[in-house]
Amino acid sequence: MTLSQFFSFKSSSIALLTALTITACGGGGGSAPPPPIPTSHVVNLSWTANREAAVNRAGGGYKVAISGQPVIDVPFPYAASGAAAVATLMSGTYSVTVTAYSAMNANTGIAASGVTSNSVPSAAFTITVPY
């Protein structure tokens, strides 16, 4: 790994590399460095609120899909934070999309007949949760 690559890491990664260096100097042996220890982080997600009336009334909401995680349902009524969700994620890289939904049936117009309307998922957003 080049020096420039080191500097592109977040601060926690830089600290870990420093520790690795110290271990190598003191040990003098061939043992592999211990893997980084995943840590848990609170992640706040937010997005631009949809303007559809049906998304902003009972039966409407958002589904937040985070790779490898259960889908988070954010039903109306929304918290004061608006179009937002909170997740607790372990260190790693995740892909996130948000889909809006309503209870309006696209075939009949009758709400809540068991068929809801959904948006196309948002553009995927990649997040890196540090160690």
Binding site: H41, V42, V43, N44, L45, S46, W47, T48, N50, R51, E52, A53, A54, V55, R57, A58, G59, G60, G61, Y62, D73, P75, F76, A83, L89, V96, T97, V98, T99, A100, Y101, S102, A103, M104, N105, A106, N107, T108, G109, I110, A111, A112, S113, G114, S117, N118, S119, V120, P121, S122, A123, F125, I127, T128, V129, P130
Partner: protein
């Protein structure tokens, strides 16, 4: 809102309806029975055990629906909400599934007596009795799905739609209640930008009234037809005259007026194949910056707008939706323009019944009797002047032979003034408008003229009359065709004389003169009850403008882009539009209403 045949029925879709458990229960109140849930008990549970289970959750009673399904209606105790009951049953080990007892409705059908003729709203394969475009029958289901949409939204009155057209007959009994309230500044619901302009946008053509009716003829009022919107706010912006013609200046003034006075949607069922018009384009851009959606017609030439631009359709602003016309089988109408990069969607545009501005009548003349002829030079030796063509019926010509046999074989005289005229009664039915159309084939030396004049008090119209046309320098060509028409409304009287004059210079090299054919006067007597069934992308455009008004009224926070996305992205894929439009889709009102824009602006903060 009262629907004509609205009734409530409860339907249990045991196999089709997905089961909802407490975590997923978020249906809006009113969409389900408020004091019941449907419970499916696990197999082999006896009736007694079912009752015991229900009683443990507080049910007042249960009623089995079908012995083989294990579904029962559980009647909830006072104070227990459906959501609470769904949660409680879902957690009971004896329950396989539970859901609200949803309420379904019949589709919203207005009581307007001509509703069954509105195939764009509900295509049952019916015959459109006054249809002139073949076929006059179609395919059931090839429609805009309006009855479903009307379950959600019928009132567009919060969204002002400007009909930028020939005006609107705001006295129509099917439109009067849905006209924009312009207050004291615009007491007649809009403005007139034709000629000197005025505050009266009355429609002297019919086109704009037809368009307005498709958008917002009052629905469910037991009169005539219904628009896409049952309630509406229609601003009448007159930019085209009685003949259906307008100019850049009148159109852009109309656009700016509509924007300034609060219109959110502009319907522009007009267009022309001319060069790019920068002033026109700038007006569309001003609409965009004002968050105004513009819905325009593709054109009726059966041509490709990508190859031969037609404006405004071929403007590229994102607030523009260009509409092609579909027939009753959702084939592209044979007159409709198209364009894979310029035309966006299709909508019904053939055999469209809507409001009209009044009674239209036609006066034709066989050109074989009653015309007065005169010539300043004609002699037996040197014939010149007008006469009836005895070889070609219904043709009257100048420079006929002395025996009046056939136009085109004798030359008119130099230095002549040949006149003919006839008197017509145009005042028989309180006529409001009179339009003259005529064909004129001509062989005229440059500097020799054909003139057409009228005179309301009768007599020679070339003496103190009014000129409507002058043409010169033609060889084997038509210098007049039945279109355009000439507005001769100033001649409305019992003694309207209309005439033609051929003049030549004293040194004229002379030619064979002029033949007149297809003489016709169209009159309009305005009334408040007229309807008409006509064809055109002009008729498809207001279908889309109406859907846009439904969508915007239902979603008042929308931007023009949201409305445009909803209409274009949600449409019904239609084979006849594939490769012919940007979307390949026909507008579907219900899909547009239920469309949800893609979420955006996602951001993340990691703590």
């Amino acid at each position: 809102m009262t629907f004509h045949t609205r009734s409530l029925i409860s339907i249990i879709l045991l196999s089709a309806a997905p089961t909802l458990h407490a975590a997923a229960f978020n249906a809006p109140a009113g969409s389900y029975a408020p004091s019941q849930v449907l419970v499916q008990f696990k197999p082999n549970l006896t009736s007694a055990m079912q009752s015991q289970t229900a009683q443990s959750i507080g049910a007042q009673s249960i009623q089995a629906l079908a012995t083989r399904s294990n579904w029962s209606i559980a009647n909830l105790p006072a104070g227990q909400s459906v959501a609470q009951a769904v949660a409680a049953y879902a957690n009971n080990p004896n329950v396989a599934a539970v859901q609200p007892n949803y309420i379904y409705h019949t589709m919203a059908v207005p009581n307007d007596p001509q509703y069954s003729q509105l195939w764009a709203a509900k295509n049952t394969g019916q015959t459109i009795t006054a249809g002139t475009y073949a076929p006059t029958t179609g395919t059931a289901g090839d429609d805009m799905n309006l009855e479903a949409a009307w379950n959600v939204q019928t009132d567009c009155s919060s969204t002002i739609v400007a009909v930028i057209d020939s005006g609107v007959n705001y006295t129509s009994t099917d439109l009067a209640a849905n006209m924009w309230n312009g207050g004291a500044a615009a007491p007649l619901h809009g403005w007139n930008f034709v000629g000197a302009g005025s505050n009266d946008p009355m429609d002297l053509n019919g086109h704009g009234t037809h368009v307005a009716g498709t958008i917002g003829a009052e629905g469910n009022n037991t009169i005539g037809v219904t628009g896409v919107c049952w309630k509406a706010s229609i601003m009448a912006v007159r930019v085209m005259d009685a003949t259906g013609a307008g100019t850049t200046s009148s159109v852009i003034q109309g656009i700016d007026y509509a924007i300034t006075h609060g219109a959110k949607i502009l319907n522009m069922s007009l267009g022309g194949q001319g060069p790019f018009d920068p002033a026109y384009s700038a007006a569309i851009t001003r609409a965009q910056t004002s968050n105004v959606l513009v819905v325009v017609a593709a054109g009726n030439s059966n041509t490709n707008n990508d190859a031969a631009p037609t404006y405004p359709c071929s403007f590229t602003q994102p607030n523009l939706i260009c509409v092609a016309a579909l027939d009753q089988n959702y084939a592209l109408a044979n007159f409709s323009n198209f364009g894979a990069t310029s035309v966006d969607v299709g909508a019904p545009g053939t055999n469209i019944l809507s409001t009209w501005n009044g009674l239209h009548t036609t006066i034709t003349d066989p050109l074989n009797a009653g015309w007065v002829f005169s010539s300043t030079t004609a002699t037996a030796a040197a014939p010149s002047g007008w006469g009836y063509d005895l070889v070609n019926p219904n043709v009257m010509g100048d420079a006929l032979t002395p025996t009046g046999s056939q136009w085109g074989f004798t030359k008119y005289n130099a230095g002549t003034d040949d006149r003919t005229y006839k008197t017509f009664n145009l005042a028989g039915t309180n006529t409001n408008v009179a339009l003259l159309s005529v064909s004129a084939a001509a062989n005229l030396i440059n500097g020799d003229f054909l003139n057409a004049n009228f005179k309301a008090i009768g007599g020679d119209p070339f003496t103190a009359g009014t000129n409507v046309f002058s043409g010169t320098n033609a060889k084997d060509g038509f210098i007049l065709t039945p279109s355009p028409k000439f507005d001769i409304s100033a001649c409305i009287s019992t003694t309207c004389s209309i005439g033609f004059q051929l003049t030549s210079t004293p040194t004229s090299l002379r030619d064979t003169g002029v033949a007149i054919a297809n003489f016709r006067i169209d009159t309009v007597t305005l009334n408040s009850t007229a309807q008409n069934t006509i064809n055109g992308t002009s008729m498809a455009t207001p279908q889309v403008a109406g859907v846009a008004a439904l969508v915007w009224s239902h979603n008042p926070m929308f931007t023009y882009a949201d409305v445009a996305n909803a209409i274009k992205d949600s449409g019904r894929p239609t084979p006849s539009l594939a490769g012919k439009t940007t979307t390949g889709k026909a507008v579907d009102a219900m899909r547009a209403l239920s469309y949800i824009n893609q979420p955006s602006g996602l951001s993340v903060v990691v703590h």
